[in-house]
């Protein structure tokens, strides 16, 4: 965050009137329908703080051939029912590397990609198509 943003943020956080005394609304139930609707949604979905939650790719993103390797790794991992953390452990690397690999595989070496698929008990093949 830039210094300007930090200053703005801090002044925003302090800019409200603190009311003294007992909160007359404490313990009361308001907006029950909304609460129940939200509770239902939370109970039927995988939440972002769940270890198995995977940040879904944007529906508008286009995949190119490099990005699709990241997708292949991710899909194979999910197929094998393995979390990013578990895969990182098996490969003896940090979880952040796996997160990065699935999103931006460009910086990974071919050897590492092949190793990942080996650990996932999968075989990757390359198909070369000569352009005219």
């Amino acid at each position: 965050m830039t210094e300007k943003e930090n200053i703005t943020k801090n002044s925003e956080i302090k800019d409200f009137i603190l009311k003294t005394g007992h909160n007359p609304y404490a313990g009361k139930v308001f907006f029950q329908k909304k609460f129940e609707k939200a509770e239902s949604i939370l109970s039927e979905s995988l939440l972002p703080d769940d270890p198995n939650f995977e940040e879904n790719l944007s529906t508008s993103k286009q995949s190119d051939s490099i990005s699709s390797i990241g997708l292949l790794i991710k899909n194979t991992r999910i197929e094998r029912n393995i979390t990013q953390e578990d895969l990182a452990q098996k490969l003896n690397v940090e979880k952040s590397l796996i997160v990065d690999l699935e999103k931006n595989p460009q910086s990974a070496t071919m050897a590492f990609v092949v190793k990942v698929f080996q650990v996932l008990n999968a075989k990757i093949t390359f198909d070369v198509i000569l352009k005219p």
């Binding site: 943020k9 409200f16 909160n23 939200a38 509770e39 508008s60």
Partner: protein
């Protein structure tokens, strides 16, 4: 955040905030409530109009002071203040109607770049939480401080 909004008042627990919407329909007292879900660090965000003559609130009323963007900016500020105190909290919000949810979606989309400075933002769509993108239609919203 740099948008026009109403002055907030809050009790020490920062679970309820109040403000007054001003406009053609006069002064309308509003309340913002954060309600904790059992056994997890998730809170429901709801807000609405005070019912005159009582201490009850209504989140389905259509009192319109033509200030919905200002109201939503005020609510966003309350979320910022609340999550400053509760840094690990996830805040979920749904509209009481489909059109209300769409209004929130529009407001978030309009201010997405600035909101993303402070928050991770997710939208609930097809029974999944997805990283929110501009103009993404969804049924609910989930945010957490960065």
């Amino acid at each position: 955040m740099s948008f026009e909004r109403y002055q907030l008042e809050a009790y020490e627990d920062l679970m309820t905030f109040e403000f007054i919407s001003k406009g053609p329909n006069g002064d309308i007292q509003k309340i913002i409530v954060f309600s904790k879900f059992k056994d997890r660090d998730y809170y429901n965000l709801a807000f609405g109009d005070k019912i005159e003559g009582s201490n009850d609130f209504d989140d389905e009323s259509v009192s319109d002071n033509d200030d919905y963007l200002k109201i939503l900016a005020t609510v966003a500020k309350a979320v910022l203040i609340f999550t400053e105190k509760n840094k690990e909290a996830w805040v979920v919000a749904t509209g009481s109607t489909t059109s209300r949810t769409r209004l929130y979606q529009i407001a978030i989309s309009k201010n997405l770049i600035e909101l993303q400075i402070y928050f991770h933002i997710y939208g609930y769509k097809d029974k999944k939480w997805i990283k929110f993108e501009k103009n993404m239609a969804c049924e609910a919203f989930l945010v957490k401080r960065k």
